[in-house]
Every structure is written in structure tokens, then in C-alpha cells.
Amino acid sequence: MLINSDFEVPAPVEKVWDYLLDVPRMAPNLPGTELTEVLDENSYKGRVTIKMGPVSMRFAGDVEIVERDEANHKAVINAAGADERGRGQAAMVLTATLAKAAGGTKVNIAQDLQVSGAAAQYGRGMITDVTNVLVQQFSRNAAEDIPRWLRGEERAAGQVSSASGLGIGLTAAMTALKRVFWRFFGSNTRRRAAMGRS
């Protein structure tokens, strides 16, 4: 599952680059994440808790920065984990690319997410919508946190939440609705590709 998102922050590219590689600071932007161990500057251990309707899963796993291309301001981060009760696996390749923009820096986050197990089995594709919400929240949290980080402030209290509750459900439902309307009134090419047709 490929998910792409863009956001802008009012800060120079070099500063945002440093933030991005400050994994302990950046990781909590993804709702439900906690970093449990720093192995070295490229390797970390952590947990992500996701609650989706009847399913609550806690993924524990490893995060690794596998590529730091300072010249192009591109970083690739691998994350892989398994539910602590054995009901699923998740793996993600996150590619972050920074570019100069009028107001500061444009951040592009491309995520290739593979989820298997209980979380992926419900609601005829609900996981896509939930993941989209998580990525949106990740981007929003990062956009909020970078200025604070620049000012040398701590992360805002209460920002580190678990990915749960009514909020995600509602936003995911809205995403699903939007997708339906988009399918009806938008182009049909994406869906045909998704159905495995040439």
C-alpha cells in the first residue's frame, strides 16, 4: 500500500533535515508510537499501538535509518514489527524528501506499508483509510512540532496520543466516504488498476 503526503514547514531545509533524523524527537509524530530503546544513531526499537473497532494491536519492532542522502535531502527509514500477541505483522519503508519551498521547506513523505493479520482483515479495506488518517496525523503533528523544536521547546503536551478513539474512526469513515464519492465522480483508472486489470 503506497501512501504519499506533502506538507510545508516555515523553516530552512537544513534545519528540517536535522529534525527528521532526530528519531527520538520525530517518532512520536506517528500517533500511538513510543520509542523504547536507542541502539545507535541509526537503529531504534519501539512500539506502535493501534485500535481499530474490534481490534487492538500493539506492534513491537525495529526502526532503522537505511539511507541518509544529505546532498539530496532524502532519507529512507525501514520499520518492521509484529503484534505482541501474534496477530499480525507490519512493515513500512518511509522515504522522506525535503525541497526548498517559498515559505520554507516542502516535506514529502512516501510510505509503502505492508500490513498483515487481524488489522487488515476487517471492513473490506478499512485499513487503507485508517492508514491514510495516521499518515495525515503524522504530517500534521510534524508540521506543528518542527517550529517548537526550532525554538528549543519540548513537544506540546498531549500531542503523543495512541491511535485510537472516536477521532480516527470518524476521520477514517470520512475518508471512506470521500473515496466512494471520488470513485463515482472522479476518474475510474485508479480503481481499474486496483482490481488487477490491464
Binding site: 496477530r87 505492508q114 498483515s116 482483515q121 473490506r124 480503481r191 482490481m195
Partner: protein, 776 residues
């Protein structure tokens, strides 16, 4: 139905109702991933949980030579995974504990480390060059081809196609569905270390086959195994195979010396047990301009899942898919078929049909509709020109079947008259002027039932006969046991009626008992609509044997010679003096107290019936629908069913079977499928996603009948359990596509969800339902 007395009172006795002293509970740990190498399994935390008695892994099962088991299709299947997991939901370990909740906690405490492998979710992906090998456990297996098979005359078929005026082509996918009985699978294995006897209560449609399989797989002596199949809450084919859960409960009971109960949950049932269908067809008809079909050919790719464990007893790798087009007079044909391993649950079962017949008939009737459209011919008239005529029986199909009886044109005409065909065509044209989309779909088909004859059908080498044992007690009451096993078909009512019909003993005086291998005669179980064609025939035969002995007793009591005794229902009388007679009950008493010199006492017997041929019921189903072009939602306006299932023993049960089948057909065409995402996640392993129709959305059905007795069955019955589920789906789908005929859309894969229909209307393109694959 006599059985309803206990069912509607909630007094049925199902596997989960049975509680044995000292019984422990087993739960299964299933794989969350579709394809991965198992790097390690750590069970230490599970063993630490108080109340956990046993944690069984594949490695431990392997020490007893039970990590793998043979399948009914001569492949092997993992009982507990040792090397790799090959589908999501695969069994990895089991935990036995004092209660099921502790056992579940034990499963969650097992730590399995997986090394993910690419997941394969459809045959195209599986059979592509360079696809990852799923069955690396099989020596000599270098690709994901499970089998290849063909039948027919290729050269003659190719020649016929060269001479055709029109060649009509259709590609479609029959989606993966699941029989989804409300009661899931389960077993209670009780190995008694003192007597060395193993008793297993289990949800099985075929207890004797299970006993033979357990004897062969677990290497236990067959006489020390007793399989009891109590009341079953629906089977539909799902309870024919041997599942790892059964095997594990038996192994755990042997290891612990205690009864071990395993009751599957709904998720486990939908994700891991026998699926149905999942076939891809690509076929053609060679047509003459006047509407005559010259030849048929098609290729079928089947998604077999991770192991080839189709529960089918024919000698044909792909079951009876070559029964396609059997009701049409087509001179030649050619079929090729291929099975593909994928990372999906194994165990293709014949969901309410005889081994791939539903798929065959669906493709046939969709192809017939497409061909009629290509020719510009009325679909009813096109069928009329090609259906086998009454004077052509016995008729040999191009693929080798022998159909023996039927009145196909009569059934079609009754159906058309009932639906008001001409009037509907007028109404449809009128409605079209106002932008409304009405459609009519026909499905006519004859299907092979009642597996089978011993030339072509066996399970583990045992031929597909069935049996009945009848004991008439001194007072004229009786107990009947058969080798079949009812799962809601109403055997207790129907068998008693056959005995009543043959012997004149009131049906209420006949107790019917099935499902206990220690008491029932050896039989092959209930599926493929074989109960009435095979076991029902045995019931009639054994009753006739009893009557023959009763005749001798009557002659003795009436003091005349046997030739002078005449029979009327329930009574023998002297031909020259009809008022001098004895009842069957008086004969029964005499069998125990007043038999003639030299006659063995008692009035009991058994019969084994090996059918000379399959039975061939015929059906004509006609649906009319209205499609809402704005939303893609379609409603059934009317549904007419004309069934010729031969002689009907109990019309109420027959009609119940037809309505049930049409409901399941509606579900398949409208809402139901088990699909997968590109990671091999099963989307459809719960009732939130796998939809069952309720009384709310199910349309009403208008039933009609034609009776053409089966020429080789003792009472002329042909079987009926599956016809409607087999022939029904094409009627609904043909109707919806008829409503879309101006769009040029040839096919929408089932289920015809509103978004698929809407998309077809708006894009004027066919809609495929094949699972998506990763683009990278």
C-alpha cells in the same frame, strides 16, 4: 419434519453440547501472514500459564509423523506448519488447557518469528514465470502448477470452430466463496488409555470416511475407532474434509489420555476451512448463423490455495467441470484445466454441488446468454434450438457423460409461461423509454448428482456406494440406519417415508439413526446430493428385502403358498379371498414367534446400493430484475423455478431445498465473496465482510415442477439438494446483464455489487473481480 420437533425447541444435540468428564479444551494458533518462513517458535511463555496442559507444535507432531497428512486429492497438507506458513490462518500450534479461554491466552503467548515471503493471491500471478515457489516441500515441484487436465476431442473441435459462422467468447471469474455453515467445525477426541479405544464426536458429513482416514493417517486399528457425528448445524460441503483441528484434537487426546474438545470460531472457519469455487474461465462457442451450436471449448484455471485438498471423489482432477453443456446437443468439445497453488486457504469443497459443477453450469449459462446476444437471437429460442430433445435419451455428451432422461423443452416452456415472457419483453421496452432498466435472465441446466458409480468414483480407494440397515421389531416398529449423515436435509423424515411407502409401516413407527460408525452400516456420507440417489435407494432396497421375507411369513400365517399372496400397502392377502389377510405388523410378530420350520428368526436386513449412473435432474430458472442506473443497485422482481428432480418423496422438503438453494444463489450473485488484498490478507473472514442474506433481502420464489422419473433409481428419484444453488446464480446475473444489454458490457464478475454494476454502466467496460496483486 420429525427432526424439527427438537430443533425448534433448541433441543438439538450438537458437538459443542457434548461434555465429557475431565474434558480439556484446545485452541489453534493461526498464522497472521500469508507466506513466510518460520524462523523460530517459542512456546515457553505459554507453558508457564496456569491451566495449560499441552502446547503442541509442528515439530512435536512430526515426531509422531503427523506434521503432514494426505489429502483427498492425493496431495499432502500441513497439519501444523514446520517449515513455512503458506496461507493466512494456517495452523501453527495448538494449546490444550482447562478451559477454552486459558487455551486462547496460551496461543497468544506463543512467540513465532516469521521471515516474510511474497504472497501470491491469484493463478495469473502464481503461474507467471519466476513466481516464488509455494510448495518447496514437494520433491520435484519446480513451479506452482498443481495439476493439468484435459478432456474432449481437440482436433474435431478445432475443425468445427473453423466452420463456424460466429464464434462467441466469454471470460469470467467465479469468485471464492465459503459454505459458511452457522455451526463451525469441531471435535471431541476421547482416547481411553485403558481400553485403547478412540471415540471422536465431530462435525462430519461422512463419518465412515473419517474413520478410515484416521485409521490410515494416525495408524490406529480401525475397529478401535468410533466416529460419532451428532446433530450438524449445516454442512454444505464444508464438513467433508479432514481438517488439522480434528487431527490435533485426536493427537492431543492420545498424548494426554483425556478427552480434548476443539470448537472452531467463525473466523477460523471462514479463514481456514474448505472454500469453494475460485475459478477463471475463458471459453468459446462455435455457432452456425441459424443458432445451432457446433462446438464448445474452454480453459479453466483454478485457484487451489496452498494445498490441493479438494474434497472430491471422482477420478477427474477437476471434478465434474466437464458436465458443462450437458443439457445441450453439442457434437464436439474440448476442455483444458489447470490448478494453481496460491497463498490462500486450501480445500476446495463442493459447496452445495457435485465437485465444480456449480462453476461449470454458471459458465455454461453465461456463455449461452452471451452467444445468443452475439447471434442476435432471443435467448429462450436459442436454448430451444439446442436443448437435447426428449427422444434423444440416452444421450452421450461430448465429454463422456451419459444423460438418461428429461423433458427440457417442457420445463423451459412452463418457466416462460409462468414468468409471462412475451409480456415482460413488452414491459421492458416500455420501461426503457422512460429510462428504466429491466432485465430477464434464464438458466437451464442438467447437473450430475449422486456420486457416484464405482467405475469412476472412490475415496481412498473405497467405492461410492451407500447402505441401509433395517430392523423391524416384534411389534412392527422399526429402526433404520444408513451410511449417510443428515445436516438439515431431513433424512429422518424422508427415509421413514420411503420405508412407509415400501412396507406400509407408518412413518412415525420408524426411528432413523445415522452418524455413529459403531452402529451404522458402512457408507460414504452426505454431499453431492447423493443421499436420496444412493442411500435413499439403499433404503428402498432393504425395505424390499424385508417385504420379501414378510411375504413368506404371510404365506405361512395364511396357510397358502407364497405365489397366492398379494401385497397392498401394509398388508398381505390371499389372492382368491382378499378379506383374508395379515398386516406387516402381524408378520413382524411372527418373525420372532411363529416362523415356519427352517426359517431363520428375526426381521432385519441390510442393503448396499452402487448406482449404475449419476442422476440427472433438470432445472429452468428465470429471474426478472430492475437495475437502478443511478446507484447500480438491482432488485429481483420475480423468480420462477421449474425443477425436474424425478419422483418427489416429500414435496415440502424438496421445496425447502429449492428455496434454500435459490437463496444461496442469490447471495453468491449479489453480495458474497471471500477476497484477498495484495498481501494475502483474507478480507471476508468475518460476518461483517462475508455477507449472508436474510429474509429481508431475499426475494420470493415461485416454484413449479415437472416429473421425469430416473430410469435407474428404485423409486425414480434424482436428488435435489443442490440444483438451485448450482443453476440459480446465472439466472440472476444474466438478468442484470440483460438490463445492461445496450451498454455492450459482456461480463461483470460476481458478486454484482452496486459499485461494480454502476461502474459497468458508466464505463461500458467489463468488470473483473480477481484479487489485486502488488504492482511493484
Amino acid at each position: 419434519r420429525v427432526e424439527d420437533n427438537r430443533f425448534i425447541r433448541g433441543k438439538g444435540n450438537y458437538t459443542d453440547d457434548i461434555v465429557l468428564p475431565g474434558m480439556l479444551h484446545m485452541e489453534i494458533l493461526r498464522s497472521p501472514v500469508a507466506h513466510a518462513r518460520i524462523k523460530s517458535i517459542d512456546t515457553s511463555k505459554a507453558w508457564e500459564i496456569p491451566g495449560v496442559r499441552l502446547v503442541l507444535t509442528g515439530e512435536m507432531a512430526a515426531q509422531r509423523n503427523l506434521a503432514w497428512m494426505p489429502t483427498l486429492s492425493y496431495d499432502t497438507q500441513a497439519v501444523l506448519a514446520t517449515d513455512k506458513v503458506r496461507f493466512q490462518g494456517q495452523e501453527i500450534a495448538v494449546v490444550v488447557a482447562d478451559d477454552p479461554y486459558i487455551a486462547k491466552d496460551g496461543c497468544e503467548a506463543i512467540d513465532v518469528e516469521y521471515e516474510p515471503l511474497p504472497a501470491i493471491v491469484n493463478p495469473e500471478q502464481s503461474l507467471a514465470p519466476g513466481a516464488p515457489l509455494i510448495r518447496d516441500d514437494k520433491e520435484g515441484q519446480t513451479d506452482n502448477v498443481c495439476y493439468q487436465w484435459e478432456v474432449g476431442d481437440k482436433a474435431a473441435t478445432d475443425r468445427a470452430f473453423e466452420q463456424a459462422d460466429v464464434v462467441s467468447r466469454l471470460k469470467l471469474h467465479y469468485p471464492r466463496s465459503h459454505p459458511s455453515p452457522i455451526e463451525c467445525c469441531g471435535s471431541i477426541a476421547n482416547f481411553d488409555p485403558a481400553t485403547q479405544k478412540l471415540t471422536v464426536y465431530m462435525t462430519t458429513q461422512a463419518p465412515h470416511i473419517i474413520r478410515a482416514a484416521v485409521a490410515l493417517v494416525a495408524e490406529l486399528p480401525e475397529h478401535m475407532i468410533r466416529i460419532i457425528s451428532p446433530d450438524i448445524g449445516g454442512g454444505f460441503g464444508n464438513k467433508v474434509p479432514v481438517y488439522p483441528g480434528y487431527v490435533c484434537s485426536i493427537l492431543c487426546s492420545i498424548l494426554l489420555g483425556k478427552p480434548v474438545k476443539w470448537i472452531e470460531d467463525k473466523f477460523g472457519n471462514l479463514i481456514s476451512t474448505g472454500f469453494a469455487r475460485d475459478m477463471y474461465f475463458d471459453g468459446e462457442l462455435a455457432l452456425r448463423a441459424d443458432g445451432k451450436i457446433l462446438a464448445a471449448r474452454f480453459h479453466a484455471d483454478t485457484d487451489q490455495g496452498a494445498f490441493f485438498s479438494d474434497a472430491q471423489p471422482s477420478k477427474f482432477k477437476i471434478g465434474l467441470v466437464h458436465s458443462a453443456f450437458a443439457c445441450y446437443d453439442i457434437p464436439v468439445g474440448h476442455i483444458t484445466a489447470r490448478g494453481a497453488y496460491t497463498n490462500k486457504a486450501p480445500g476446495g469443497v463442493a459447496y452445495r454441488c457435485s465437485f465444480r459443477v456449480t462453476e461449470a453450469m454458471y459458465f455454461q449459462e453465461r456463455m449461452i446468454a452471451a452467444a445468443a446476444a452475439d447471434l442476435g437471437l432471443d435467448p429462450a429460442e436459442f436454448r430451444r434450438r439446442n436443448l437435447v430433445r426428449d427422444d434423444q435419451f440416452p444421450y452421450r455428451t461430448p465429454f463422456g457423460f451419459l444423460t438418461d432422461s428429461g423433458q427440457y423443452h417442457k420445463c423451459l416452456d412452463i418457466g416462460l409461461a409462468a414468468i409471462g415472457y412475451e409480456q415482460f419483453l413488452t414491459d421492458k421496452a416500455e420501461a426503457a423509454k422512460r429510462g428504466r432498466r429491466l432485465g430477464l435472465g434464464i438458466s437451464t441446466m442438467t447437473e450430475p448428482l449422486g456420486a457416484g458409480n464405482s467405475r469412476e468414483y472412490d475415496i481412498l480407494g473405497i467405492k461410492m456406494f451407500d447402505s441401509a440397515e433395517l430392523r423391524v421389531h416384534p411389534t412392527g416398529k422399526a429402526i433404520l440406519r444408513t451410511g449417510a449423515k443428515t445436516q438439515g436435509q431431513g433424512h429422518e423424515t424422508t427415509w421413514a417415508q420411503i420405508v412407509a411407502h415400501e412396507l406400509g409401516i407408518p412413518a412415525a413407527d420408524v426411528m432413523v439413526e445415522e452418524g455413529d460408525t459403531d452402529t451404522a452400516p458402512f457408507g460414504m456420507g452426505t454431499y453431492a446430493s447423493r443421499s436420496t440417489p444412493v442411500a435413499g435407494a439403499a433404503v428402498a432396497m432393504v425395505a424390499r428385502k424385508i417385504r420379501a421375507k414378510a411375504r413368506k411369513l404371510a404365506a405361512h400365517l395364511l396357510e397358502v403358498s407364497e405365489e397366492d399372496v398379494e401385497w397392498e400397502l401394509g398388508r398381505f392377502y390371499v389372492r382368491s379371498a382378499p378379506d383374508r389377510g395379515v398386516t406387516i405388523q402381524e408378520c413382524a410378530m411372527a418373525a420372532y414367534g411363529n416362523m415356519p420350520d427352517g426359517m431363520e428368526p428375526g426381521l432385519e436386513n441390510n442393503a448396499y446400493y452402487d448406482p449404475p449412473n449419476l442422476t440427472w435432474p433438470f432445472a429452468c430458472y428465470i429471474a426478472t430484475v430492475e437495475v437502478d442506473p443511478e446507484t447500480g443497485v438491482w432488485d429481483v422482481l420475480r423468480f420462477v423455478a421449474v425443477d425436474d428432480c424425478g419422483v418427489r418423496i416429500n414435496p415440502m422438503i424438496v421445496e425447502g431445498q429449492i428455496m434454500g438453494g435459490l437463496t444461496e444463489a442469490y447471495a453468491m450473485s449479489n453480495m458474497q465473496f471471500i477476497t484477498f488484498d495484495e498481501e494475502g490478507n483474507c478480507v471476508g473472514s468475518n460476518y461483517m465482510d462475508y455477507l449472508l442474506p436474510t429474509a429481508w433481502e431475499t426475494p420470493g420464489f415461485e416454484l413449479h415442477e415437472v416429473v421425469t422419473p430416473c430410469p435407474h433409481h428404485p423409486i425414480g428419484a434424482k436428488g435435489v439438494g443442490e440444483c438451485a444453488a448450482v443453476g440459480g446464480p446465472a439466472a440472476y446475473v444474466n438478468a442484470v446483464l440483460d438490463a445492461l444489454s445496450d451498454t455492450g458490457v459482456r461480463n461483470i464478475d460476481m458478486p454484482l455489487l452496486p459499485d461494480r454494476v454502476w461502474e459497468a454502466i458508466n464505463t461500458r467496460a467489463d468488470i473483473s473481480g480477481a484479487p489485486p496483486v502488488r504492482a511493484d
